[in-house]
Amino acid sequence: MSSLLKVENLWKAFYNRWVLRNISFEIKPSDILGIIGPNGAGKSTLLYILLGIISPTKGKISYFGRDFYTNRSAILEKVGFASHYVGLPYSLTVEENLRVFARLYRVKDIDKTIDNLLETFKLKDKRKVLTRTLSSGEMMRLNLIRATLPQPKILLLDEPTAGLDPEFIQHVRIVLKEKAEKEALSIILTSHQLGELERIINKVLLLDRGEIKGYGSLKEVFQLFKVDNLEDLYFKVFKD
């Protein structure tokens, strides 16, 4: 099966300090990769490099078999992103924000797509309200709608369930798993909620101070570190 995303020997330094060292991994259709590591491990930096908003110091990234930097726009039309840490502009309504981003991603049937996603993420009643009035959970749902607006092939999520109530965490998990299975959507996500993460991912990348400590299918990595759950894996890898 061909790679949707291939990262080869990626390095990143900020002001002469290495924050990512020699990162290589790949994503295939329906892969759900969890990037795990303590604060400052380089997880968010890695996501932002994969989105092209931070440039790497060296290394190669290719999506769908094409070089990212020479095909940026075409590639990003099929890559979605949502983060708990960054909300959409507050002074626009929910619908206006989505309409703007629908244009940026050249979404075909804007009205229908927005309707469906507002329904899926249970935000239909907030359609006309200003984004500043949303709760943090609702803002995260709006971010998820914005991320899935272009019907991406790869979804990058930074702490996607932070701020959501347990019922909605479960809902998001079901929606994402369903999309991964039915639409061959691949997902890369970071989260500190290890229990929740374990329920959704099938691959894991362990990152510590910018270096990969382990990478592979969840089963392989569990066998390698002789553990049977993500929490034990975390403490075994990052406590030492």
């Binding site: 900020f14 002001y15 039309e77 960054v86 626009l92 703007v100 244009r103 991603y105």
Partner: protein, 264 residues
């Protein structure tokens, strides 16, 4: 390839912002109106006691409208960029397929709208209250206005480059940088009124040629083409330099991760 839909997306974002904001509407209408009324009445008063037959009010109001076009176009660009910084929207924009050129085009069109809106309001008021028709010089005025808008964009791009490089501390430049050129632009007085050292500086400022052309146009009814050509050449130089600096600042911002953090 450049996508007009994405350019429209940027334009739409700023029109939605305008739609919800009374203060932004005020900024669009209030200041040009106050400027015109205030300076219009002052010049009427000065002309009343003057023995000079020169149409002082027309010269002054015309220059005022042209200067406002420059300021509105420059601020439309720089403040439009700041709006995205304040909303922490640069991250969302530049992880989308939007290219830098498309983003800038969206902002440029929006700034053009703001400049045209301000000039339209001022032109109408100057006809109604001061019996001065800014557009009576026809196509010549278009040449001058176009050169001013290009210069305004170059100042706007320079401001944006400073903001990207130095962070939000530099945001004051969005309002201040155009004013730096005001004394050397000979907006309300002829170049010959400046001290010689200031005249030397003014010879490197494109707006000095544009406003000098405007005075000739109004007083003699013809355009001094060599002034206009010099003005356009200098505008071209400023535009290329500021665009290059902005692209460089943008690359540095991507290298240093500033696009994520700016606005925090």
């Amino acid at each position: 390839m450049l996508s007009p839909i994405r350019v429209y997306g940027i334009l739409l974002r700023h029109f939605y912002l305008l739609k919800h904001s009374f203060s932004r509407w005020m900024d669009l209408i209030y200041w040009p109106t106050i400027d015109l009324l205030l300076w219009g009445f002052i010049t009427l008063y000065l002309q009343r006691d003057s023995l000079n037959s020169l149409n002082f009010t027309s010269l002054f109001l015309g220059a005022l409208i042209l200067w406002n076009i420059l300021v509105r176009a420059q601020q439309g660009l720089a403040v439009g960029f700041l709006e995205d910084i304040w909303a922490r929207n640069l991250l969302h924009l530049f992880i989308s397929p939007l290219t830098l050129i498309e983003y800038l085009l969206g902002l440029l069109i929006y700034s053009l709208f703001k400049a045209l809106a301000a000039s339209l309001i001022m032109s109408l008021l100057s006809v109604m209250i001061f019996d001065f028709n800014f557009l009576s010089q026809g196509l010549f005025i278009f040449h001058l206005t176009f050169a001013l808008i290009l210069f305004a964009w170059s100042v706007g791009l320079l401001t944006m480059a400073f903001i990207l490089y130095f962070g939000q501390e530099a945001e004051i430049l969005a309002w201040a940088l155009a004013l730096f050129f005001l004394p050397f632009s000979a907006v309300f007085y002829p170049l010959s009124a400046l001290p010689s050292i200031f005249q030397k500086v003014a010879s490197f400022v494109p707006t000095s040629y544009i406003f000098e052309s405007f005075r000739h146009l109004l007083l003699q009814g013809k355009l001094y083409h060599h002034y206009l050509i010099k003005g356009y050449l200098l505008v071209g130089f400023y535009l290329i330099t500021s665009s290059s600096l902005f692209v460089l600042a943008f690359r540095i911002a991507k290298r240093d991760g500033k696009l994520i953090k700016i606005g925090e």
